[in-house]
Amino acid sequence: MATLRVEHLNKTFPAIERGSDATTAIDDLSFEIGGHVFVSVVGPSGCGKSTLLNIVSGIETATHGSVSVSEDGSPARLGYVFQEPRLLPWRTVMQNMLYVLEGEDVPDRARDYLRMVGLDDAGGKFPAQLSGGMQQRVGIARAFAVEPDLLLMDEPFSHLDAITARSLREQLQGIWTEAKKTVLFVTHDIAEAVQLSNRVLILAPGGRLFADLPIELPYPRKASDTEVAMAQAELLRRFEEMQEETDAARATDVAS
């Protein structure tokens, strides 16, 4: 488990062409998460969700503000499930796992986590021989296998079919409850956010934090539970509120 502290974060991508505007992907974002929590970030496409994870993971640098991840004062280990599988096509599934692992009994660990996502037999295959969903599951196994303090997940189920996604969501709850990880989970699926997380951050277009809502329901949760459905409705209402607000802001922008 780790503590993630985001303070007054801003990320602006400079304009590539002359005459076009710079893009503000994240605007003055502050929040803190820590301990055994599952935090979802929801927001419409292009509101800076992937950018946030990239900054947290160190792939990208912040324009202003700061991000710190710590595990009892020492640097935390990160796992990252990307929006796409991002496997090395020239390495087998097993070699892909071993690429990111260090330490003792590494092959055993790799095998354990491949079994967890139901791919025990796929170790010798190349990514091109797997379906898109299977590749994504390898990406998930890889992130868990490093046994991270902070696990970043960027819409990990959005490319999967509904049946696989549902079973992986249930598995994810089980693993998270057991393995006690801090998870930062990005999605644009409100139902998914409600089912999995105990806290939801809603981002508005332009990367502003619109709402920070707790979801206090016991695990494991099913998508069909009444309480889950009610929490979903509540979240959806806040989401619509946010959209109305941004639409209104845009209208006044156009008018002026």
Binding site: G58, Y80, F126, A128
Partner: protein, 274 residues
């Protein structure tokens, strides 16, 4: 490494009929191609040029057999192949670092860009003559001409390969805290390899022609030297026999060494298009 059994296992998983059918089709194509070529040759020899200007395939065949049997073949092939190999080694030795610089730094790209274009578009014969004039008849001439001709292809393709590296895989490696050396080995080199290999195959086809040319102009051994020697003796069958032997040898190298190596190295890519 566990990769060899992996490749076998997956090949075994494919329906065998498809593989067999492809192989049969390949062999049929080869037979028809070679057969047609020999037929046209025979007809041209008999009907248009006459057997003295253009000897029929059978005559060339027996001369070729004589060359192989007498040991002449080995005697002249070994130096030719060695020069080719050294020249090629030289091209790789220079081409890889130059390509790396071009692929990683805008400044070096600008610096080498025009040079490689110019070097690549100069006709092979110029290199042959130049190498001979500067380095003389000794062994260095052919080696250098091969090296000069191949180097730009290797460099450009390596640079191109570095351009094509999937940035997202490098990001993934960074996110998982991989070291630079590990990223080079696991991401950069495998990304560049198909391009470098294409460059090598392309320049190989060019290199051996230039090497022959250099040997024709000035050398005291090698296949090219033999071709000139036969020419000076007005022996058309001898000349054609040497040319043909060399062509067959090169086709075999292309088909069975380079193509096989490529199939093996890039099996991860071939898997998804049987």
């Amino acid at each position: 490494m566990s990769s060899v059994p992996v490749a076998r296992a997956s090949r075994g998983g494919r329906p065998p009929s498809l593989v067999t059918r492809r192989r049969v089709r390949g062999i049929a194509g080869l037979v028809i191609g070679v057969g047609g070529f020999l037929l046209v040759w025979t007809l041209l020899s008999a009907l248009i040029f006459g057997p003295f200007t253009l000897p029929p395939p059978s005559r060339i065949g027996s001369v070729m057999w004589e060359i192989v049997r007498s040991g002449q073949f080995i005697h002249h092939f070994v130096p030719t192949i060695l020069r080719l190999a050294y020249g090629f080694g030289l091209a790789l030795l220079i081409g890889f670092p130059v390509g790396y610089l071009m692929g990683t730094s805008r400044w070096w790209r600008a610096f080498f860009h025009d040079m490689t274009i110019v070097a690549g578009s100069i006709p092979g014969i110029t290199y042959a003559v130049l190498a001979l004039v500067v380095f003389g008849i000794k062994i260095l001439g052919p080696i250098l001409s091969v090296g000069l001709v191949s180097m730009p292809y290797v460099a450009i393709n390596v640079a191109e390969g570095l351009d094509s590296v999937d940035h997202r895989l490098v990001q993934m490696s960074d996110a998982y805290g991989r070291r630079r050396a590990s990223i080079v080995r696991n991401v950069l080199i495998p990304s560049v390899a198909p391009f470098a290999f294409a460059g090598v195959r392309l320049s190989f086809a060019l290199a051996w022609k230039v090497e022959q040319l250099t040997e024709v102009f000035g050398s005291s051994s090698g296949v090219g030297f033999q071709i000139r020697h036969e020419f000076e003796d007005f022996s058309i069958p001898g000349m054609l026999a040497w040319v043909l032997l060399f062509v067959i040898f090169m086709i075999l190298v292309e088909r069975f060494v380079l193509a096989k190596l490529e199939r093996y190295l890039f099996r991860w890519r071939l898997e998804d298009r049987p």
